[in-house]
């Protein structure tokens, strides 16, 4: 009785009318307002309730809109790089990777292999950190207090490595157009290896706490189900898509950076409910550990910066380049008019697109589940509003 | 102070009974009417237990428990009707409930 079996795309105009509740019970329109502990930032969800059951939702966003894309139009390519970290502040490194690779594609410059390997290691570390933050807040929303502290303690180790490498913990600004800014510090490989051995048993701890926890299963199984067809129709990407059974991961489908050199599987779910998404993300964390392990032993020697002119003036033209961010497909569409500043820069943020699926997933559930579903889509409002 | 006799308990029960009857007859709010009926049943219970104490056997007490059971059933059914009625007519005034079928 969860998501209604609709045929492909949904005609928005008929959506509210088709929901004629039996016996004119007074429907309740309540705001899960911008200031709500469970909306991961300033998201306002208007819930149309019949008693406790959700009839429909309407997401109101824009509270965190900073006009990043407009600013890009009067910043040079190098100057815009730090802005990119502020969009999905939880996975800043992969934002930076996406942007730098897009501009390199525009300049058709190739980053040197050493830079590629460093980029892969840092991005995968960032994916684990992002998933850990997701797990902590998601479990807290459903009521389990302890995982939050476990995940944040382990995330601290990753942030330490980022800090030693590029001076910043969250908005790292670690990459430059054409490669990496900094050479890896002396104990980089040792730290990463130490981290790998440290975090592997910790992930088992999270699993021990939650995976076979009856109440956790009860709260997440068959909640917020989205079928593969709906997911594809709405353009949902990332773990949410993979949990519905679609095996699509840009790191395998359109390999970028040095991902083609490593072998790792793509975890895929079956039913597309909150529990599957939980399993998919936990498996992804383990895969990332595998990738880092393979990468850290064979970082090639050589320069870390390609030959890039001091003032970057890409040729006239436009490109679209997308990478697999922790939340889904993060794409950059850049139109260059030959000058030092992009004519138009459009970002395709995964959270913004995934948020559309909230209405389908939540239809027919209870208010308590809305909180769980928002948690499982893993949205970051900085990226949704840009 | 004269020692307490069964008569005292009968007077208290009678007083409660009369209060209940007044409540039923004069109040317009159905919930209060149902509460007054509870008052009446309570008065009856008190009488039964008083007499059971006087005659020294348990019949009165056992019967008072059955009356409590009946009061519970009556309250449940009465409030059920009230909610069903309120959902249709938005009023719980005794005067306005004058239709057998709505």
């Amino acid at each position: 009785m969860n998501a209604p079996t609709n045929d492909g795309t949904q005609d928005v105009s008929k959506r509210w009318l088709s929901e004629k509740p039996y016996l004119d019970s007074n429907e309740l329109i309540i705001n899960m307002g911008p200031q709500h502990p469970a909306t991961h930032g300033v998201l306002r969800v208007i819930l149309k309730l019949d008693g406790e059951r959700v009839l429909g939702t309407e997401c109101v966003i824009g509270y965190l809109h900073r006009g990043v894309e407009k600013i890009a139009e009067n910043r040079t390519y190098a100057m815009f790089n730090p802005y990119v970290d502020r969009m999905d502040y939880v996975a800043a490194v992969s934002n930076g990777l996406g942007y730098c690779e897009a501009v390199e594609k525009l300049l058709n410059v190739e980053a040197p292999p050493r830079a590629k390997y460093i980029r892969v290691i840092l991005t995968e570390l960032n994916r684990i950190a992002s998933h850990q933050l997701w797990l902590g807040t998601h479990a807290l929303d459903i009521g389990a207090m302890t995982p939050l502290f476990y995940t944040f303690r382990d995330r601290e180790e990753i942030l330490k490595i980022f800090e030693r490498y590029c001076g910043a913990r969250l908005t790292t600004h670690a990459f430059r157009i054409g490669g990496c800014q900094y050479e890896t510090y002396a104990g980089f490989e040792k730290d990463v290896k130490k981290f790998l051995t440290f975090v592997a048993p910790k992930i088992d701890e999270y699993e021990a706490l939650l995976t076979t926890n009856r109440i956790w299963m009860e709260r997440t199984k068959n909640v917020g189900v989205i079928s593969a067809a709906d997911a594809i129709a709405l353009g949902v990407t990332g773990p949410v898509l993979r949990a519905s059974g679609v095996k699509w991961d840009l790191r395998k489908a359109q390999p970028y950076a040095a991902y083609s050199d490593f072998d790792f599987e793509i975890p895929v779910g079956t039913k597309g409910d909150t529990y599957d998404r939980y399993l998919v993300r936990m498996a992804e964390m383990r895969q990332s550990l595998g990738i880092i392990e393979q990468a850290v032993n064979v970082i090639p020697e050589g320069p870390i910066m390609a030959k890039v002119p001091k003032v970057i003036k890409p040729p006239v033209g436009e490109i679209y380049h997308s990478i697999e961010a922790p939340k889904g497909e993060l794409g950059y569409f850049i139109v260059s008019d030959g000058s030092t500043q992009p004519y138009r820069l459009r970002v395709r943020p995964p959270s913004f697109v995934n948020l559309q699926a909230l209405d389908i997933m939540v239809r027919g559930l209870l208010v308590a589940d809305v909180v769980a579903v928002i948690g499982t889509i893993d949205i970051v409002l900085g990226e949704v509003d840009r | 102070m004269v020692p307490i006799t069964t008569f005292h308990y009968l007077v208290v029960a009678a007083a409660l009974f009369v209060l209940g009857v007044i409540g039923v007859l004069t109040r317009r709010n159905v919930v209060i009417v149902l509460m007054s009926i509870e008052l009446i049943l309570n008065a009856v219970n008190l009488n039964l237990v008083a007499f059971s104490r006087m005659w020294g056997n348990l019949n009165g007490q056992v019967f008072s428990i059955f009356i409590t059971v009946d009061a519970a059933a009556e309250a449940a059914a009465g409030l059920g009707i009230l909610i069903a009625f309120f959902r249709n007519k938005e009023t719980i005034n005794v005067d306005e409930i004058d239709l057998l079928k709505w």
Binding site: L23 | M1, V2, P3, I4, T5, T6, F7, H8, V12, A14, A15, L16, F17, V18, L19, V21, I22, G23, L25, T26, R27, R28, N29, V31, I32, L34, M35, S36, E38, L39, N42, N45, V49, S52, R53, W55, G56, N57, L58, N59, Q61, V62, I65, F66, T68, V69, D70, A71, A72, A75, A76, L79, G80, L82, I83, I92, N93, V94, D95
Partner: protein, 196 residues
């Protein structure tokens, strides 16, 4: 079943320290019960009258304890105060329309109601005055003792008598009572169910 008079009743029992049913406590509880009853009828806000009813129920439970009927007192607290009153408060909150508290509390023909009640009261008084002679004096005065346990066994025989009564002689009534409850539950559920 003619009421067998318990012969032990007549022997005077040493009242011991302080008998349970001291007149002070009796008048206190009786006063509370009647005052609660009055408040139930007069209060404008139905939650206040519900609270007043709870006060009445608990004081009547106290009276039962004075009449050495602990089981009835406990049932009263559990079923009445704990169960039915929660039900009442639930319904008052669900049916919470502001308009009710603004309206007139008493219907227009309240004098007729009150006069009928007075007639009833007169009837009771008449019955009590006339009937006083029927009850033998020695039965009316209630023996008291400090130890509730001892007097209860004296009155009703050893423990467990309550069980024998309820399930012994009154089994048939007991089954009817359970049937009544079943019917009430079904009725309440069907009436309040929104969607079939």
């Amino acid at each position: 079943m003619n009421p067998v008079v318990n012969s032990a009743l007549n022997t005077t029992i040493d009242p011991g320290m302080a008998p349970v049913a001291t007149p002070f406590f009796f008048y206190l509880l009786a006063g509370l019960a009647i005052a609660g009853g009055v408040f139930v009828i007069t209060r404008r806000n139905s939650v206040h009258s519900a609270l007043a009813l709870i006060v009445t129920l608990l004081s009547v439970a106290g009276l039962y304890l004075m009449l050495y009927a602990p089981f009835v007192a406990a049932t009263q607290i559990i079923v009445y105060a704990g169960g039915i009153m929660v039900l009442f408060l639930f319904v008052i909150m669900l049916v919470n329309i502001e308009r009710v508290s603004k309206e007139r509390r008493f219907n227009r023909i309240w004098p007729a109601g009150v006069s009928a009640a007075c007639a009833l009261m007169a009837l009771f008084v008449f019955a009590f005055v006339k009937g006083k002679a029927l009850f033998p004096d020695r039965l009316m005065t209630l023996r008291e003792s400090s130890n509730t346990q001892e007097i209860a066994t004296m009155l009703y025989g050893e423990r467990g008598k309550m069980g024998q009564y309820t399930f012994g002689q009154y089994t048939f009534t007991f089954e009817i009572a359970s049937l009544l409850l079943l019917v009430a539950i079904l009725g309440a559920v069907i009436m309040t169910k929104k969607k079939m």
